[in-house]
């Protein structure tokens, strides 16, 4: 099975022109485009059942609550979670990590403890730990990289000494590297540590099963998987989430409030203070339906094929003039291509590409420690998703040479 060839027609934005060219969107690792079914699901909510959830007894309030909870159940199935109550809605993956750090970390970390992350983490899985470490005095330790952009696990036993939490990305947003999460999780568990996983780049692109991954906690975001912005997910094992104290306080997250204190609500509401982003949750549910209708193994196969094609045509045409960071083989990476072409600065490269309607991201991709390891200030990143095809890669390939001519020193 492969993906339908007319998939672009499901995404209204992709029929637009930019600077006189049909738009070629190659920045899905930043944020994906949205299919009509997602946009319509959110519009339908506002047009027909807009009401606050878990409160009113009237018909549309009940329908809104039911639509939101149905989305939660679909997300649980999508990632292989044993229970829908393990799906906590957050603002984004960044908030999910802040929740873990504040709630679990605040309760469990102190001097002498260690949290182990890696050199390829997004700032979302670095800075919350750094903020907490400054307060609690635990150590933040880093798994280094190999020269071909994998995690260097040769010293993992030594690195795991004293570790209470391992928090690592399943797929790098810069290198595309797919990390051996199950192996790391098993070794973390063998020393009594927990395993948190950044699934922001993984969940939208590969079949995900939290039990098979061996994770205790998983963070991801809706807008990179055909869903809207403003909605993310924290998944956690029930016993773990139950033991963690609340994160934000307010309405919805309580069972009872008295002058002398409060009783927190049950899962997952304990972690969902205030009115949730109802339309966004419903939109994310529609995005899950859309991806499941394609089949996640087909999505993955499409991206392997397209990444393989991109690596081949780019390297064939440009050879030594072009550096593509990360693993050389499409089977061990996702569709994220961080490129350096001659000595054209990524910002200048993306400006030239923009004139041809091609959207790529230039910058440090919220991974500055990794940029330092790579010895670059920035890269230009082309990233692929379900709607991209070989013609998009051909347009990218054809556009590098003119940029090189303009900036040749």
């Amino acid at each position: 099975m492969s993906l339908p060839s007319d998939l672009k027609s499901n995404f209204p934005l992709l029929s637009q022109t930019v600077n006189g060219h049909q738009i070629i969107y190659l920045d899905s690792a930043s944020s994906s485009q949205k299919p009509t079914v997602v946009i319509e699901a959110m519009n339908d909510y506002y047009r027909t059942i807009n009401a606050n959830v878990h409160r009113g007894a009237y018909e549309i309030a009940a329908q809104a609550t039911e639509a939101m909870e149905r989305a939660r159940a679909r997300l649980a199935t999508f990632i292989g979670a044993p229970s829908a109550n393990e799906i906590v809605f957050t603002k984004n993956a960044t908030e999910s990590f802040n929740l873990i750090a504040r709630s679990w970390g605040g309760d469990n970390l102190g001097p002498g403890d260690v949290v182990l992350i890696s050199d390829m983490e997004h700032h979302a899985n670095i800075v919350p730990w750094q903020i907490l470490s400054a307060e609690k005095g635990f150590e933040l330790r880093w798994i280094p990289l190999t020269s071909d952009g994998h995690l260097d696990l040769s010293q993992l036993d030594r690195l795991l000494d004293g570790v209470k939490m391992v928090s690592v990305t399943a797929m790098s947003n810069v290198l595309g590297t797919l990390n051996p999460i199950r192996e790391i999780a098993d070794r973390a568990h063998s020393v009594g540590a927990l395993m948190a996983v950044d699934g922001s780049q993984y969940v939208p692109h590969l079949p995900t099963d939290v039990v098979e991954l061996g994770a205790d906690l998983l963070c991801f975001t809706g807008h990179k998987m055909c869903g809207p912005t403003g909605i993310g997910v924290l998944w956690g094992r029930t016993e773990l989430l139950e033991a963690m104290p609340p994160f934000l306080g307010g309405g919805e997250m309580i069972l009872d409030v008295r002058r002398d204190g409060f009783t927190p609500n049950e899962l997952p509401h304990k972690f969902e203070a205030g009115t949730p982003p109802i339309a966004e949750i419903i939109g994310l549910g529609a995005a899950v339906d859309f991806l499941e209708s394609l089949g996640m193994s087909n999505v993955r196969q499409h991206e392997i094929d397209l990444t393989d094609y991109a690596l081949r045509v780019l390297n064939d045409r440009y050879g030594e003039e072009l550096t593509i960071h990360g693993p050389p083989n499409a089977s061990e990476r996702g569709g994220v291509l961080s490129i350096q072409y001659q000595d054209v600065h990524p910002h200048d490269l993306s400006q030239v590409l923009d004139q041809r309607g091609i959207c790529v991201r230039a910058g440090h991709h919220c991974a500055k420690p990794l940029m330092r390891e790579l010895g670059v200030g920035a890269t230009a990143r082309a990233s692929l998703y379900v709607y991209n095809d070989e013609a998009d890669i051909d347009a990218l390939t054809a556009s590098l040479a003119p940029a090189g001519e303009l900036f040749a020193r």
Partner: protein, 155 residues
């Protein structure tokens, strides 16, 4: 939408390919200030030496996009031998060209009797940047860094 030729004028590309006043002065006696553009990773490092109220020499190193590095090179040429007041005035004019207008009190000072408008010269080539709003911060990085350096010296 403007074409690339409005942004990447030949004189800009020339400064990018052959940056003027490139290097570092010994500190002290020179003063060093670094500027970063966190969004795109551009960096400039300025070292400059004052003689009284005058910038006797200013050298620049850095890495970044053509706009940030060309603007730094052009600035280095424009400020050599100028008084601190002239440099502050020039910076205000340059930033005004980038559609950045300083607090009204300072701006009034700049255009009042004791500060006459300066020739922007080559710098005029950078005015196309204003049509590409995300690049304005690239063009102003070195200028803001120099202002920071002058403030650090309280001149």
């Amino acid at each position: 939408m403007s074409g690339l030729e409005d942004l990447y004028k030949e004189i800009i590309l020339d400064h990018y390919r052959s940056p003027r006043h490139h290097g570092e002065l010994e500190c002290p006696p020179a003063h060093k200030t670094e500027g970063f553009n966190p969004l795109c990773g551009d960096e400039v490092s300025l070292t400059f030496e004052l003689q009284g109220e005058v910038i006797r020499e200013l050298l620049i190193t850095g890495q970044g996009c053509s706009i940030s590095q060309a603007s730094a090179s052009m600035m280095s040429t424009a400020v050599q031998g100028k008084s601190v007041d002239e440099v502050r005035n020039l910076t205000r004019q340059f930033k005004a060209m980038m559609s950045i207008h300083e607090e009204s009190i300072g701006a009034e000072d700049a255009t009042s009797k004791d500060a006459k408008p300066l020739e922007l010269g080559d710098l005029d080539a950078l005015k196309g940047v204003v049509k590409f709003p995300v690049r304005i911060k690239c063009a102003t990085l070195s200028w803001n860094t120099l202002l920071t350096g002058l403030d650090e010296l309280e001149v």
